[in-house]
C-alpha cells in the first residue's frame, strides 16, 4: 500500500479536479472500509488519497417539508440506522443499514462509499488478473462461483455487494453526482452498469465524479417496506440473496410496489414486468404468490455452484410477503 500524499480538499470542485487528473490515479477515502482493503491487496494503485471530511455539507439527513428526504454522501451507515424518521417511515432502509457488516464498520462506512464499493468476487480481491482487472479471463466462470450472479451476468459474473442500493432503489431514490463542475441527478437504478456494457467498472462514474447526495422522493403514507438478507454468518457477511420491498396495500392486495434484489446480479436486480405483476397480487392467495415468485426466477441462469440462489430468490419473496401483512 503506497501512495504519495493524503489531502483534504476544501471544495467539491477542487476535489473533483484532483481526482480527474489524467496523469495520476487518485482516490476518494470516505470511510475507507472498502478502499483500504483494495489498497492493501494492490487491487488498485493510488498516487494520492483524498478525504472530504472538511466538506461539512456532505454529511446530513434532511427531511424536507415536501416529504422528501435528502441524505449527504458522507453520512455514516450508523447515522441512517439512528435516524428516527427513517426508522419510522422507511423500514426497508433502516433494516438494510442495520444488517451491514458490524457496528464498528457501520460507524466508519458512509452511504456514498456503500453505493460505490467494489465487488467482493474472490478472484477480483485475490491475486488474479481477471477480466475486471484488465486481464482476459473470468476465473469465476469455470471456478469457485458460489457467491456469483445468476441474473444479467457475462462476461463477468460479480454481484453488487451493497445492501443500501436495493433498499434505496425500491424507494425510487435518486443519486446526485458532481461531474465536470456541476451536479446532475439520476435515478439510482441507472447508476449501475452491467458487465455486458463495461466489465471494468460498476457504475456510470467517470474519473473526477463524486457522489454528493441521495434523494428519496416523498412516499405514500401507508408504505409498507422491509429488507430481508440471507447470509452465512449473522455479522460481517454480505448477502447471499437479499430482497428490498416497498409496497402499498389495500387490505391484503398490493396496489403499488417495487421489489429489488441484492446478491443475484452485477447490479441491484429488479424486473419491470415483475413490478407490474405485483399490482393486484393478493397476499392471502398462496398459489398466486407461488406463481408470482416462480415467474421472477424464470430468467435465472446459474453457474455451476450457485443454483441455490434461484431457490433462495423464490423463497425470499414468499417469506417477505408472509411477513409484511
Amino acid at each position: 500500500m503506497k501512495f504519495k500524499s493524503y489531502v483534504y480538499p476544501l471544495s467539491l470542485s477542487a476535489a473533483s479536479a484532483f481526482l480527474a487528473n489524467k496523469n495520476e490515479l487518485n482516490f476518494l477515502n470516505a470511510g475507507g472500509t472498502d478502499l483500504l482493503g483494495l489498497l492493501k491487496e494492490d487491487i488498485i494503485k493510488a498516487d494520492n488519497i483524498l478525504n472530504l471530511k472538511y466538506l461539512k455539507d456532505l454529511k446530513y439527513i434532511n427531511q424536507e417539508p415536501s416529504g422528501e428526504l435528502n441524505i449527504g454522501a458522507l453520512t455514516s451507515i450508523s447515522e441512517i440506522i439512528n435516524n428516527v424518521f427513517i426508522k419510522k417511515n422507511y423500514n426497508v432502509l433502516h433494516q438494510a443499514a442495520s444488517q451491514i457488516a458490524s457496528p464498528q464498520l457501520r460507524n466508519i462506512g458512509t452511504v456514498g462509499g456503500n453505493l460505490c464499493q467494489r465487488p467482493r468476487c474472490n478472484y477480483f480481491r485475490g491475486d488474479f488478473n481477471c477480466l475486471r482487472k484488465g486481464g482476459d479471463t473470468c476465473f469465476a466462470f469455470d471456478g469457485f462461483n458460489k457467491y456469483h450472479c445468476i441474473m444479467n451476468g457475462g462476461p463477468c459474473f460479480i454481484v453488487n455487494p451493497s445492501d443500501l442500493a436495493p433498499a434505496l432503489i425500491s424507494l425510487g431514490a435518486f443519486v446526485s453526482v458532481f461531474s465536470n463542475g456541476r451536479e446532475k441527478e439520476i435515478p439510482l437504478q441507472d447508476f449501475y452498469i452491467l458487465p455486458s456494457a463495461n466489465y471494468l467498472k460498476e457504475t456510470i462514474l467517470e474519473k473526477g465524479d463524486i457522489v454528493t447526495k441521495i434523494r428519496i422522493p416523498a412516499q405514500p403514507r401507508d408504505l409498507k417496506s422491509n429488507y430481508i438478507k440471507i447470509k452465512e454468518r449473522e455479522t460481517w457477511d454480505f448477502a447471499l440473496v437479499s430482497l428490498a420491498a416497498s409496497l402499498v396495500l389495500d387490505g391484503k392486495k398490493i396496489t403499488k410496489g417495487s421489489l429489488v434484489f441484492g446478491g443475484v446480479a452485477p447490479a441491484p436486480y429488479f424486473s419491470v414486468k415483475g413490478n407490474k405483476d405485483l399490482i393486484g397480487l393478493d397476499l392471502k392467495n398462496n398459489k398466486a404468490i407461488e406463481s408470482f415468485a416462480e415467474a421472477f426466477v424464470k430468467d435465472a441462469n446459474p453457474l455451476s455452484m450457485n443454483g441455490y440462489k434461484a431457490i433462495m430468490m423464490k423463497n425470499i419473496i414468499i417469506k417477505l410477503f408472509s411477513e409484511i401483512i
Binding site: K2, T33, L36, K53, S102, P103, Q104, L105, I108, E234
Partner: protein, 151 residues
C-alpha cells in the same frame, strides 16, 4: 506528514508515514499495545477504539483520518491504577480468558455506555456483535457489561 488529534484526553501531534493505519500508529509509534490486531480486515473487533464517541476498527482506518478527532483507547479507560467499572466487572464475572478480545470488547461496551447508559441485554448483544471471542462463549462478557450498566 504530521497529524493532530486528542488521544485519551491529551492533545497529540505525531509525525508519521502517510500510509500508516491507526492500529500501527497506536502500537508502533505510540507504544499503546493495549489495542490488539487480530484479523486486519475488519472481522474480529480486537482492534476496536473509540473515535468521536463511536466504536471503530483501528485496522480499517488510515492514521490520517484521525486528524482533528477525539480518540479513546483501552489505555484511557482506567484512572491511574483505579480500574474502570467495566474492567472490574470483566474480572469479577470471568469475561476474560486469553484476553485477546478484551480491549476491543471493553471499547465497544464503553462506546455503548456513551450513547446509552442503561442498555438492555439486546442492546449489549448488538453493541458487541462486531467483536469475536473464541474463549468465553460471550455469556460472562454480557454479564459483566450488564452489571456495569446497573452500577
Amino acid at each position: 506528514m504530521t497529524i493532530n488529534f486528542r488521544l485519551n484526553g491529551n492533545d497529540t501531534s505525531v509525525e508519521l508515514a502517510v500510509n500508516k493505519r491507526v492500529v500501527d500508529l497506536l502500537r508502533e509509534d505510540l507504544q499503546l499495545t493495549g489495542t490488539k490486531e487480530g484479523c486486519s480486515i475488519g472481522e474480529c473487533g480486537a482492534c476496536t477504539i473509540i473515535v468521536n464517541s463511536k466504536a471503530v476498527n483501528s485496522c480499517m482506518l488510515l492514521a490520517q483520518q484521525l486528524e482533528g478527532c477525539d480518540v479513546i483507547t483501552v489505555e484511557g479507560l482506567s484512572d491511574g491504577e483505579k480500574l474502570h467499572k467495566l474492567q472490574e466487572n470483566f474480572l469479577k464475572y470471568g469475561g476474560i480468558q486469553c484476553g485477546f478480545c478484551t480491549p476491543g470488547m471493553l471499547m465497544s461496551a464503553y462506546a455503548l455506555f456513551l450513547e446509552n447508559p442503561k442498555p438492555t441485554v439486546d442492546d449489549i448483544k448488538t453493541a458487541i456483535e462486531g467483536n469475536l471471542c473464541r474463549c468465553t462463549g460471550y455469556k460472562p462478557i454480557i454479564e459483566a457489561i450488564s452489571a456495569s450498566a446497573n452500577s
